[in-house]
Amino acid sequence: MSGNNKAMLVVKGLHARVGDVEILKGIDLEIGAGETHAIMGPNGAGKSTLANVLCGRPGYEITAGEVSLNGKDLLALAPHERAGEGLFLGFQYPVEIPGVSNMNFLRTALNSLKKYRGEEEMDAASFLKMLRAAAADLKMAPEMLKRAVNQDFSGGEKKRNEMLQMAVLDPIMAVLDETDSGLDIDALKIVADGINAFRGPEKAVLLITHYQRLLDYVVPDQVHVMIDGRIVRSGDKELAKELEEKGYAEVA
């Protein structure tokens, strides 16, 4: 299903359940370096479950299948180790952490990743410089960095904050779970700019979205339609437009 690029994320025959309910019923997906894919589908199709299972969120039972990132078996790794391998999840509902400043959170996270990779930690001054620049790119006020993580942030601010984390932590594979939901058009453009700035020959992006709207700004290499735990159709960016016009039922 991938283009001609070296495969980064490879998902084969993935089945997952919550309790007795099977949600992923055999997902196959391959995303190559430099590619951006979008998964679209109605509510309850299993899109967020796929994102969570890729990142190792507890509460899901994987009954069959394989997932690898650059050849590394992700399913054998703990969630923080998957992050260490370069996997990032942009949360649909970013979580509040009272009393922990955004700045402190990001620095702790970045140094944890560096430690996992055997790299040297970043000193406070260089980190601050890098963080401020990243925040400015996303048009975030400097005072947002001092506030507690996501606490009393508006919906748009939370999503922008996810983009800031992605920029600072610099993963190789970003899974963005409905990062566009709840954004007005200006915020959507800023988030889209953030995603486009992240894209590059050594990066891959998986966008999970309901709407074609985001795809006007972040043009995907491939679009997949997911219904009832399966990818039922794949195509290029035109598929998203077709979906928008005809609806899921007809396209599938």
Binding site: R57, A83, F88, P98
Partner: protein
Amino acid sequence: MAASVETREQVRQATEEYRFGFSTDVESEFAPLGLNEEVIRFISAKKNDPKWLLDWRLKAYGIWLEQEEPTWALVEYPEIDYQGIYYYAAPKSVEGPDSLDEIDPEILRTYEKLGIPLREQEVLAGVKGAPKIAVDAVFDSVSVATTFRKELESAGVIFMPISEAVQAHPELVRKYLGSVVPMRDNFFATLNAAVFSDGTFVYIPKGVRCPMELSTYFRINAQNTGQFERTLIIAEEGSYVSYLEGCTAPMRDENQLHAAVVELIVMDDAEIKYSTVQNWYPGDKNGKGGIYNFVTKRGLCQGRNSKISWTQVETGSAITWKYPSCVLKGENSVGEFYSVAVTNNFQQADTGTKMIHIGKGSRSTIISKGISTGHSSNSYRGLVRVLAGADNVRNFTQCDSLLLSDQCSANTVPYIEVSNPTAQIEHEATTSRISDDQLFYCLQRGLSEEDAVALIVNGFCREVMKQLPMEFAVEAQKLLGISLEGSVG
């Protein structure tokens, strides 16, 4: 290779959860085992007490014999055998050392291991621009060293072991000793009055802002020995001092008793900021051993606009029974209590504060953060009392509990007694857990589970931690992480 690193890490965690658990091999002199009038006379003679102090001790002992051990706290422990304790233990070499060279090198090494600078040049040789901190080091029943005394003296500040102050400044000690915590105040305070052997005395004269942080490090070392220290701090009109105490003890299988008394007196427009990082040995994973920490701390805001701020980070002790309090007598005086209490394994803490509003316009703030895990029990107990004559009093109380395991418990026991209708009293309390969502969010960003818990807990405690002097805040944060190691998962 990776496996051996991992194994070493596991061993380190298993053995070093309490990092101050070593003991020091020094020759000590003990009072005869147990407690009776002879033992009190022995301690009094060792301290070269004036007659008034011996009489004071004996009177307290007489009262103590009639008192009953309090049982109202939410803590359970086997009956303490008060005749099975040594009430005095002192390293033989330190009776009145004139310089550090006369102190047993083993003791100096102990403080080195604890990271406490006893040599003034060590402080100066540290990071450029680092603030100076004067230290009084109390080892079992005696003070072994007090630093920066000369420099403090030139500012008029008296900072010395209380046993020395009894000799050098008897008028001050006699005037204030027992003036805030009366000798018959409670069972443990009365016991302390009878047998206290050392502690710290601080006097800040009128208008002086103490030029450096003052601190006392308490170390219990000898076996079967209790530590009964007494701290007395007086801040005269318009003065300011920030004082910090730290406490550690070796890992021992039997429980050891620590019954201290702290008295603060603050005059017009003066302020005492009193911070505690309490890390006595908490006992092992099964609840064996650990310090019984029964402490009476009280400050008197005597003057107008006087202020006392208690900040405590309590991570140690098998049992903590402690209520640092403020008697807000002065008009517009201010009392603050900021507390973080962490209990793990089988630790039990019953801690809080009393704010007694006597003065008109007096205000108090209470912020208590309890974190419990393992099989531990963690209770906040607090009293806010407003007397009839105290107009326009304000109090704000916030008690938050964070539960990290299924077997621990948290309790909040607030008492509010208001006899003046103009008082404004607010009380808020919450109980929460670290949510799976919070944990996963941190893990997804690369934090290990233990780092994630430490980060979230530190966030939970931030309001209190930011009250600590900068140089101790980092230590206290690390301590929180260590205390909670292995508590989740």
